[in-house]
Point group: C2
């Protein structure tokens, strides 16, 4: 019968799928391994063959979240225009869209863990996301849109803003309307924050025609802020 083959085939994936669904529908408090097993027509001890404990399942789920987020961000960059501003805007939108569509999952991804060894893989996954911001900033430096300096130090505040905005969106501190209407303010602010001196900053997606000029630094300045 079909269910038999399914579980034989991939109980591990079925557990992750079902866990995410319950997480989405009933929240993290309602997730139990026994109920998961029941739903999948399997004994309550079966999950332990695939995940040593509940936390291991949650960690694995968080990891798939990072992987899907990475795919979403990559897709956003491939679909985006060529200008730095367009690519940054696309990255922000993709991150925030994924976050609000997977709020509980995002919580899981960035939740403080207490066994450092378990967090390693998750932190590495987060660093792969951050690397995309670094890549974007490096491109921006090549095109002259982004200020000079160590590119990781320039990308970090950008990625930080992204993460904070997504966090406020998922936790409800910002309403859906506020998220939608605030996106352009955030993007414009990010552009200004990383802009090369002497570069005109233009951001026109949500609020057409807004722009400003970031000037050259005063002579004699060794390291422009």
């Amino acid at each position: 019968m079909q269910t038999r083959r399914y579980h034989h085939g991939d109980l591990r994936a079925a557990l992750l799928d079902r866990a995410e669904q319950t997480l989405r529908e009933k929240g993290p408090g309602a997730l139990s391994l026994r109920e998961l097993a029941r739903d999948l027509g399997v004994s309550h001890a079966a999950p332990s063959r695939h995940f040593k404990d509940k936390q291991a399942l949650l960690d694995a789920l968080a990891l798939t979240g990072f992987e899907r987020m990475e795919a979403a961000l990559t897709a956003s960059q491939e679909a985006a225009g060529e200008s730095f501003a367009e690519r940054l805007g696309a990255l922000v939108r993709a991150y925030v869209d994924f976050a609000v569509a997977n709020a509980v999952l995002l919580d899981l991804m960035y939740t403080v863990k207490h066994e450092p060894e378990a967090s390693e893989a998750l932190i590495a996954a987060a660093h792969r996301l951050a690397a995309m911001a670094v890549e974007l900033a490096a491109d921006g430096q090549r095109s002259g849109d982004v200020r000079e300096g160590p590119v990781e130090r320039i990308a970090m505040p950008l990625f930080t803003t992204l993460h904070g905005f997504a966090g406020f969106a998922t936790s409800g501190v910002l309403s859906a309307d506020e998220v939608a209407s605030g996106l352009d303010d955030v993007i414009a602010y990010m552009l200004r924050g990383c802009a090369a001196d002497g570069r005109e900053v233009t951001w026109s997606e949500g609020a057409p025609g807004l722009h400003c000029l970031v000037p050259r630094p005063p002579r004699g300045t060794s390291h422009p802020v």
Copy 2:
């Protein structure tokens, strides 16, 4: 005897205290109402007089987190210098310091809740924190350090960056060293992001002498980004 009077006096506060301690020492997964009651020498049903269920206790604890964070931010502003940059820097440091010193609590404060009625008080508390950033931005506008425009829309990206940086700090995405060394990059980026056109931006705490000039916008621009 002493313990008897203590519990009679304020079992509710004792539960919150003890819950925070276990949270800090053993993590959120290890928190149980029954153990809490045992530790306090009280029957396992006693907590239900003060919190209708476990989530209610966690929500109450999160609320005290917001209150203490608000106090820390207020204190930072009272201790800070007069310049906008100094006050912003002090706010960022205070937020991040509180976050790393209370990582699990911060998680709890901003965790996605599934009963909207329970979240209301927490969201209101978060808004009180955000109001401090709005106040600071408004002062910055009066002193000419911060660009013109609706002050909430200017403060939101700032507060968002703060929150994201704290989130990376508590979740371990940024190491303690990276947090310490990244603080000035973040602050300088924030200053640039909200600076008034034509204003010289100076930030010299961690990296003395760094500064740049944000110029006047090109003539004819209605709304500088």
